[in-house]
């Protein structure tokens, strides 16, 4: 296993942080959508993500309704 980042090149390490945040955002959007399409409840999604049901609902509900995903009440 090599070192994660080059200690002489903080620019590459900082750019990696941005790339990871973008990846996490893309995965969250796509996987929440996938779970809701599969009939998961907001509570179930929230528990896996480790956040409140209200938080996941606030962040994703409008987009998923617009995308035509049939949402369960709870």
């Amino acid at each position: 296993m090599t070192e994660l980042v080059d200690p002489e090149d903080p620019a590459a390490g900082l750019a990696a942080v941005v790339a990871l945040r973008r990846l996490a955002d893309r995965l969250e959007d796509s996987q929440v959508e996938q779970a809701m399409r599969a009939g998961w409840s907001w509570s179930e999604v929230a528990e896996v993500l480790g956040i409140t049901r209200q938080a996941v609902h606030k962040k994703h509900a409008r987009r998923l309704v617009a995308a035509g995903v049939a949402l369960r009440r709870r």
Binding site: L4, A16, A19, L23, D29, S30, R63, A66
Partner: protein
């Protein structure tokens, strides 16, 4: 998009907002402005970008490669094209991100001095190219574009009155 728009800033922000939504971003960043600028096609700025090989498609490809390189530094080897997609939120109203604020600041500072609200695509291009720390700069490097030379060309055009 017509090239005789008096102030393309609003149009650019509109286009950049659409790019941000498509990208799933909660903020409008400089790379979204760059894509919107390239999409104006007939403006001098879009022509300078195209002459450097930076069409919309080329910019998207370069941004994906920059993303892949960033992830590779963290030990993640993936092709962006193979990532699962999320349905974009067309109702989202992304706000202006920090990189876009910096771009506007740099654009306003570029000579010649301008009056309020008179900011054209060439000036925006200068503002976009005026840093080597941004995601735009990294994407251009990945694409093999000489950012400094392109910046000098855009700045010279701006100095000659090209909007």
């Amino acid at each position: 998009m017509p090239s005789d728009v008096k102030d393309v800033r609003a149009l650019l922000v509109h286009g950049a907002r659409d790019e941000a939504r498509r990208d799933g971003s909660r903020t409008i960043e400089a790379e979204h402005v760059l894509l919107a600028l390239a999409a104006t096609r007939t403006t001098p700025a879009a022509r300078m970008l195209a002459e450097a090989g930076l069409t919309e498609d080329a910019i998207r490809a370069a941004l994906d490669r920059e993303w892949e390189q960033g992830l590779a530094v963290a030990g993640i080897a993936i092709r962006i094209g193979l990532l699962p997609m999320a349905t974009p939120d067309h109702g989202r109203d992304p706000h202006i991100g920090e990189s876009t604020k910096l771009m506007f600041k740099r654009a306003m500072e570029a000579p010649p001095k301008i009056g309020a609200g008179r900011i054209g695509p060439t000036r925006i291009l200068v503002g976009l190219l005026d840093t080597d720390r941004s995601r735009v700069a990294r994407a251009l490097q990945v694409a093999g574009v000489d950012r400094a030379a392109l910046r000098a060309k855009a700045a010279a055009a701006l100095a000659q009155g090209v909007r």
